[in-house]
């Protein structure tokens, strides 16, 4: 191309263009800051995590905590989703427990959006969709955000070159500093992600949580998938649950929490609190490195030709028959958590927790996720329902 002359005028024209592009893109980025609306079932009290760790008050890390106590005393169970906001079955499962649960005995604590600072943006170069849409039984539509594995960089910038886990000195790539599941057990004076982890630890200690779930998803090519990772203290109960699940036709790998990989819930919650931590993984093709076209359909159906080929090549750690739907992934999490709740009383009678109203594995697969969501009250009817 001939050398076109550049002048201050062309520079000015380009600047106007830069302004316009930045404005339009910024509108889409800012749309991610609008929080998802949830409808807690009757009986839930709404709190913020800063009630357990005051330094979080007024910060973007202060995430909602919902607590429902049954009429009978029993144990206390935490169901936490959204540690990694790009692993949607985790927060969607927690939302299901939030919107459906009726607690008869014991207490249920639900945190649907654990790292709420990861729900406000998407990772560069991952081409993630911004929102997932679910059609409810009454025909209305509800949306949930698909976020990033990491805390939004506007709250944690710049990332260091190397992240050093404060308690162990373990070195990881610098971007892991914004990864909530490398920040546990957290510090009261660290950055927001570390303080968030510290707040979660305070909640577990002060609320005397007996059993704590951290829900996740992993890429299908990753060895720990369709799996449960248990701390030594949780191992006996976990083994009982895995046998029960196998009997129900839900195969589940059981992995012991590695002692030398630090900063993860299944290690640090076990070592720094009295709780029994359990981390669950389902297989999510939309976060995998082998995936093809990346869009909402991939997140919801898990249908992907690249994964189909990779499965034929024997590269995956899950049975993959061409799809891995969000219903299947939420159903696996839900059935596993529910089985734990059912067995907790057998394990220790005083800690029994009795929860009703949670759809079964088959119901979720048959009717879909949207069928079990509560329609929004009119004033909340989703404003930004376009993707």
């Amino acid at each position: 191309m001939k050398i076109l002359r550049g002048t201050p005028v062309t520079a000015l024209v380009l600047l106007v263009l830069v302004g316009a592009v930045s404005f339009l893109a910024a509108r889409e980025f800012l749309a991610m800051r609008v929080p998802d609306v949830v409808v807690p079932a009757p009986g839930y009290e709404t709190h913020l995590l800063s009630e357990w760790e005051p330094s979080l008050k007024g910060t973007p890390a202060d995430t909602p905590v919902y607590i429902q106590a049954g009429s009978e005393p029993g144990g206390t169970v935490l169901v936490m989703g959204g540690t990694h906001p790009n692993e949607p079955s985790s927060s969607l499962t927690a939302v299901l427990f939030l919107e459906r649960a009726r607690v008869n005995r014991g207490r249920l604590v639900v945190i649907p959006f654990a790292n709420i600072m990861g729900f406000s943006h998407n990772d560069p170069q991952e081409a993630s969709p911004q929102r997932l849409h679910f059609t409810l039984a009454d025909g209305s539509v509800r949306t949930f955000k698909y976020g990033s594995r990491a805390t939004n960089p506007i709250h944690a910038w710049p990332a260091p070159d190397v992240y050093i886990h404060p308690q162990s000195g373990q070195e990881l790539s610098g971007k892991e500093k914004s990864n909530l599941n490398r920040a546990h057990p957290g510090t009261p004076d660290g950055d927001l992600t570390s303080r968030l982890a510290y707040g979660l630890r305070q909640l577990i200690v002060k609320e005397k949580i007996d059993l704590a779930f951290d829900l996740h998803e992993a890429s299908p090519e990753y060895p720990v998938v369709n799996a449960m990772v248990a701390h030594e203290r949780s191992m006996e109960l976990a083994a009982m649950v895995v046998m029960e699940l196998e009997g129900a036709g839900i195969p589940m790998r059981l992995e012991p929490s590695p002692k030398n990989l630090r900063g993860l819930t299944h290690r640090e919650w076990g070592d720094f609190t009295e709780t029994m931590p359990i981390l669950l993984e389902t297989a999510n093709p939309s976060q995998g490195r082998l995936r093809g076209r990346t869009d909402e359909d991939l997140v919801l159906t898990g249908r992907d030709k690249c994964y189909t080929k990779a499965a034929a090549l024997g590269r995956l750690f899950v049975p993959y028959d061409g799809s891995q739907s969000i219903e299947l992934r939420v159903a696996r999490h839900t059935a596993t958590v529910k089985t734990f709740l059912d067995m907790l009383g057998l394990f220790d009678e005083a800690k029994e927790v009795d929860v009703e109203g949670i759809p079964t594995y088959e119901e979720l697969l048959g009717q879909g996720y949207g069928a079990f969501l509560t329609p929004l009250p009119l004033k909340d009817a989703s404003p930004g329902s376009q993707g």
């Binding site: 002359r5 550049g6 201050p8 520079a11 380009l14 830069v18």
Partner: protein
Amino acid sequence: MTPIYRGIVALVLFLMLRCMFREKDFWKQVTGALVLIPLVLRLLLLK
């Protein structure tokens, strides 16, 4: 540290603008414009 890094972004952005207005080659100006977009958005903490 974030305010300092916003300052560094502002500095680079200013230098980039200076280059763009002195540049005689239109396509190099376009290249500069491409770099400006993320700088502007991060400076304002919009992304």
